[in-house]
Amino acid sequence: MSVTTLSSQGLAQRQPSWLVRLFDYKPFLIVMCLAPAIGLLSVFLTYPLGLGIWLAFTDTTIGRRGVFVGLENFQYLLTDPLWWNAVFYSVVYTGIATFGKFALGFWLALLLNNHFPFKSILRAIILLPWIVPTVLSALAFWWIYDPQFSIISYLLVDVLHWRSSNVDFLGSAWPARFSLIAANIWRGIPFVAISLLAGLQTISPSLYEAAMLDGASAWQRFRYITFPMMMPILAIVMTFSIIFTFTDFQLVYAITRGGPGNSTHLLATLAFQRGIAGGELGEGAAIAVSMIPFLVFATLFSYFGLARRKWQQGESND
């Protein structure tokens, strides 16, 4: 097509107009526009994803090409107590942290939805934990959880006299697990709160007025107006939150590195330890791949479980 249009052009403008015409030819333009994004994503996302699944079925180590070993890696993982431990903690971590983030985040969103002075400044400040690099705030938590100089221990022991000895936050399994969950909740609250606040602001006030005229109590207004109206946004935010909490790496790596006694390994940190630090690429890839079923299940559950109303009604206005 560009050739035929070209011949009708004046000779003087041939060179620029040939290029211009080529770039105005829609199919070519579409390909050119999509090329950078699709190219980057296929080379650095789709290809590695496939490669990762392939690696999980080989015995590759760093510096040696592996051979196909079938399900051997996965069979080994099933007998590995550390893997089971990581699965267990990943599920516990995701479950409790998601619940905490959403309960507190929703509460904070409801609080922020009121009118008070300096609201926009407050909203900006509240997002800080989410903006700051996670590893750096995790370091602050590590310092807060210090066995000897923890500021929380100081408060409890020397100021409030509630305890007689320092809290051992990271020294034993369960306290360490809950300390990490607390740090994760702290980091996640702002995102949940601000996203849900956006949802709250889209609910029409006339619904509340109508409910109040009918004599609905504050709880009833929340239960029958706010909550159902928030469902679609809750579903999306929760899907994201679950995916990124389950695959979390930074907090655990920065604060405990999986310790004490491997009790706080998440699947991602275990995969790193085996795959990169230990050099067993195949096994590490198998651990990473073993996250996929959990992720798919969690996504389907939170998305379809919560967004039920929406797809039942077949709404597609966004």
Binding site: F44, L112, A124, L127, I131, V132, L139, Y253
Partner: protein
């Protein structure tokens, strides 16, 4: 103040008796809104306060709670920051992080603007599916990809080079930015482009002269978001960079400054504070764009 409280209270609680309402709801408001809000702010900000105050405390004060109130500094010092800037490669790490963040942000903005324009404005058969595919890419977490990506990076000979990070970060930036920009392009009236087409403008001229200038707020939002995300990225930077000099700030602090059994908390916290400042400052300049991109993306 009391006026507005009374007014909102009158709207909020029509059933209460008019005379006791103002005082009662004022107290109620304090208990139900300001008190919990205060607690939230206190808890959300405390780690930063603690980080900041630790970075300026001399070591003697840092580890002695009996004689010094830990919540305050009696003799502030900049020794930790000095140590960081002159005895370690901290400036180098900051520079690397900045380069990587700016490089990957630019790359992703270009790629996602073009992609969003093609999907939303050039409309071809299957364009919604391409959009969906790019969106799905956002749901693939880096924790699954870092091991195979490490082998890909080695194959390309980019191991231990910041260029690897610049090329890899768009994998999580492009999906988000594309998604955001599609929303922005949607809000620009198509009639404007039609007018330009009638006047004989080419597609690229339309993109450059009409669509992009109107989408500037979207571009800024996407840019800030990308910048903070790439500044904060950790797992790829940890896996792909080996030599001390090429590390980004979050990785370097954790792997280069945490040494031995006695942690230099002052220096660690000073490093964290300095590493957080650029994003915090950047964020505070564009906070409205940031919030709107966050919430806009959720609503989309």
């Amino acid at each position: 103040m009391t006026d507005t409280v009374a007014q909102t209270a009158a709207v909020a609680d029509a059933k209460a008796a008019p005379d006791t309402m103002a005082w009662d709801s004022g107290l109620r408001r304090l208990m139900m809104i300001y008190l919990p809000l205060g607690c939230f702010v206190l808890i959300l900000l405390f780690p930063f306060y603690w980080m900041a105050i630790t970075s300026f405390k001399p070591n003697a004060e840092l580890l002695n709670y009996k004689q010094h109130n830990p919540f305050w500094i009696s003799s502030p010092t900049i020794a930790h920051i000095k140590h960081l800037l002159f005895d370690t490669s901290y400036p180098r790490w900051l520079w690397t992080t900045m380069t990587v963040a700016i490089g990957s942000t630019t790359l992703s903005l270009i790629a996602s603007t073009l992609a969003a324009y093609a999907i939303e404005r050039l409309r071809f058969r299957g364009s919604p599916y391409v959009g969906l595919g790019i969106y799905l890419a956002y749901l693939v977490p880096p924790s699954i990809l870092f091991i195979p990506l490490a082998t890909v990076i080695v194959q390309f000979g980019l191991f231990d080079s910041p260029l690897a990070l610049i090329l890899v970060y768009p994998t999580f930036l492009v999906p988000f930015c594309t998604w955001l920009l599609i929303g922005y392009f949607k809000s620009i009236p198509y009639e404007l482009e039609e007018c330009a087409l009638v006047d004989g403008a080419t597609r690229l001229q339309i993109l450059r002269r009409i669509t992009l200038p109107l989408a500037v707020p979207g571009l800024i939002s996407a840019g800030i978001f990308s910048f903070t995300l790439s500044w904060n990225e950790f797992i790829y930077a940890l896996a792909f960079i080996q030599s001390g000099a090429n590390k980004t700030v979050p990785v370097a602090i954790l792997t280069e400054l945490v040494t031995g059994d006695v942690y230099q908390w002052g220096a660690l916290m000073a490093g964290s504070l300095l590493g957080s400042l650029p994003v915090a400052v950047f964020y505070s300049l564009f906070v409205d764009y940031y919030v709107s991109s966050l919430t806009g993306a959720v609503k989309e």
